[in-house]
Symmetry: D2
Subunit: 314 residues, 4 copies
């Protein structure tokens, strides 16, 4: 259709990163106009400025944990909402220019997180090779491809092999075969994505005053309503050691009565609550609230309270 540009998605680049693979895994990803960004902040800013309609960034990794820069982009600056998540198995490969053999590798480049996840393999198979840090696995692959550096191999994603025309010297070299990274698609704020019954909600909670029991209180607000947390992470607010906000994922959708009730309660007891989106879970795991946490239970209780307050028969 002439005159209509395809949707543009930013991602944590350069080309060949795991984020690149994640954006291609989106239904709209293959046909989209893709914009590699040098940092998570840059990818998010592309969305904020309108340059892209969404950005795919990593949120947490089963081996390395949460990605601080993504948590911070969600917690501060102009708000963004998560609208989708992608779970990507993390498989590493040892890449080199065609013609290189494993025995010939003298130095290996990679991102420190990737190197950490392949440490046992590297120690066993390349015990005497030097390991060098690169800004990303794709950067490492690009540099190997360009031949302008001292290293002759890269630990990177299989996608990077295709992108940078490198040979795969060894595949699946990660120490943990079940490693997976959770990416999220963030967009400008808008109405929540429709609920599916298997949803997740992300919020950032700022503590009113930093007392020892604050986290216990927050967890209790979720627990009394039967809302399960799937991730909780403290993050410094930058104003001193021991001053935190909490980045939280919970099971359920803001349109679920119990989730809305919990967020509303947190809004009262926290100094601020930043809503970061409700979206379908990639694992499809349904929320299954207890009887007392169902929408019906909430509706009945609200109707009962209205009758009590009006003096109508109960």
């Amino acid at each position: 259709m002439p005159g209509v540009a395809p949707a543009r998605y930013a991602y944590l680049g350069p080309e060949g990163t795991f984020a690149h693979a994640a954006v291609l895994a989106l239904p709209a990803g293959a046909a989209a106009d893709l914009l590699p960004a040098p940092t998570v902040a840059a990818a998010c800013d592309a969305v904020r400025s309108g340059e892209a309609i969404g950005a795919v960034v990593p949120l947490e990794n089963s081996v390395e944990g949460s990605v601080s820069s993504t948590l911070d982009e969600l917690a501060t600056g102009e708000p963004l909402h998560i609208t989708r998540e992608v779970l990507l198995p993390v498989t590493f490969a040892l890449l080199a220019r065609p013609g290189t053999t494993i025995d010939g590798v003298r130095a290996v480049a990679s991102h420190p997180h990737a190197e950490a996840q392949c440490r046992r393999w590297l120690a066993a198979r390349l015990p005497s090779a030097k390991v060098v840090a690169a800004p990303s696995t794709a950067d490492a692959a690009a540099a190997v491809s360009a031949g302008t550096t001292a290293y002759d191999a890269a630990v990177a994603s299989p996608l990077a092999a295709r992108r940078y025309r490198l040979a795969v010297l060894a595949d699946d070299i990660g120490d943990n075969p079940d490693a997976v990274t959770r990416f999220v698609l963030v967009s400008r704020p808008g109405p929540p994505v429709a609920r599916t019954g298997a949803d997740r909600t992300t919020v950032v909670l700022f503590i009113a005053d930093d007392h020892p029991g604050a986290l216990l209180e927050i967890l209790t607000e979720f627990a009394v309503r039967g809302v399960n947390l799937t991730r909780i992470e403290s993050r410094p607010t930058g104003s001193g050691l021991g001053r935190y906000c909490f980045s939280v994922d919970c099971a359920g959708h803001v349109d679920d009565a119990r989730v809305g009730d919990a967020l509303s309660a947190l809004r009262r007891v926290c100094s601020d609550v930043r809503y970061c989106g409700s979206y379908p879970r990639a694992d499809g795991s349904p929320a299954e609230p207890s009887a007392s946490g169902s929408d019906d239970a909430y509706r009945d209780a609200a109707a009962w309270l209205a009758r009590v307050r009006d003096g109508r028969p109960l």
Copy 2:
């Protein structure tokens, strides 16, 4: 005004009981038509049947604790609402027919609760007198007045002295000078009494299934909303040892956002919640919620949640 009968109030009689004194302490009590009832149940049934528009019955005593029969009338049968409370200092007197002296007293009658509250005085001043149980302190006084029994003195209220034309041999003979009984006025269900800012709410909570943590859960629902309990009492439901309901007084009015929210939550997690009324506290002690428990905080949080759900700017 011809043709208009004055309001009729039942009370736990016979005449001269502390409940009689309590009903006279009501603004409308002095001019009302009063109906002494033989039991708490009979007083409550007079309200249920329409014979009386209210009944004054004891709820708890600072020395003897809760009055089981009143708790049970509130918990079972056709519902009644508390609309007012009266705190009455409990002062006991030793009464006898005119002409009797303390030294001449051989046997003393009273209700066991009254006798228990004067035990030290009786042991010190009437060490050799026999103590006999009567159905109520007023019954004891009436019997002494009639002269038809073996006892020659009664421990009863000063009001009973006037009513039964007895002499006060000794005044203020209770062991605890601060003893006080809390009476409540119960009426047929209707809209809650208007809130004053210094209110109390009474409910009965029935446990869904009798698990060990049930009481802890109930208390937590109040605590997370900053609603303070002023009385909690377990009562057997009659279906076996270890099966209870809980009779609860909390600070605040059902029209307070935090109290309504707590009752609504209990309605979801309990098998039944019986609302027994919101009414002004006799001690006038205001509720003073924390910032997060104020009606304003609830209103703001609800408005915020609505904006989140609609996708409007926060």
Copy 3:
């Protein structure tokens, strides 16, 4: 054996009460010297003075709830320990002098608690009979037997029929066929009864300062250690409305690590803890702690902590 008096047990009398039936149900009860006492306090004082080696008194009833006078005897005065419990089904009978027929009954006497438990039967079968309060069911039976009163029948225990040579006009007239009363045998303090694995422990907890969350804190101390409560009752301390102590039964024995740990913690956070005995449960229900609450778990954790503190290998 000449010169050796049999053990003497006091009980809440007079003869023919349910407490009398409970003491006869004890292994040593049939052969013992029995002492009926007019009140729970008198029965307990007989133990304190050495007049009896034990006293059988009611603690709670599945219909009427806790027996306040027994709770207060355990909570105050010279300490007593519970060493055994007896569960007695409560079956009521309508008793009269031989020759009386049900149709001829004009007035029925009983203790108010017993009358309350037979109210439906009385309303259905003796709708026009007058109901009169007596100090105990056995007193009512004795008075009917003596023929000196205005009433011609008594609601009492079957044991009272035999004792006072009365005819049973109707049996099992209680409204609740599963009604049961729990009696306890109290003795002077001594080492705990040996644990059986199916034990109960009774304590009275006094609150340090009367803040709203006090009960929640107490329950939490039990809950975190996996100790289940089987009864909790607030009792006024006599020093004003709203000032309570808590009478608590929990599953387990003070020699169980988790129970001792919970009591020790309560000793720190309460102003006072009164230990009232560990004793076998009459229902034989074993405690079955979770893995983390077993004596082994406590032993291992203590050994681990000792190694940490000594700097020994873990």
Copy 4:
């Protein structure tokens, strides 16, 4: 003293890092033999192998949060104990070869964490300069000094200026003037450092089974004993998203009764507890337990429990 080598401390190098500054801030640091290590893991392994008697590594930063690699070294592998902490204000400087002017700077290198903390300054003063990632701030300074790279300035610590003979073009360029990093000295396991009354204890808690309430349970074990947490961080265990351990700092020393009691309880309810040391707080803030959490309260409660169990007078 001939023949005696000075103590050797490893630190996260290279020379000129903030960790280098932290090790020099130790009393023994100035005279010690120092070993810069390329990674946190390498620094820790130098201690494990005996090559160094301690290693100084960053644990958390008031702006960037916890340092994952340090948390993971404490949580896994051969155990290490923290024996001391150092709080170091983080002040950044813009460094270049002598003769360079700010206006002449075209490209700036730094570690991404450092760059993030100076982003506002860089945007305001060097809006058109390119920013390049280096493995560490000291690496950036070294490269600028060597003149072998494309960048002509480094964001690094003032210490790096002296070490690499660079000029300070601008000082205190961090966006947050209160930024501080907490470093810890780790050593091979041994007896805890003597308690001072102002101590901190670090542990890693592994969850027995991954249920939603696990974190709430852990926090409750600390809270009921009045032990305050000063840091809590979830870390993936590597065996799948949603499977965590918790890295925790609490106020107090393992020799404090309440801290030992809390750790002992966690040892029972967690699948594993890894003790990582008790050590003096750098801020000197004393623990100030409540009355119920003092060593005296614990001692009295233990003595009371022993008397109860032995049947001795209370």
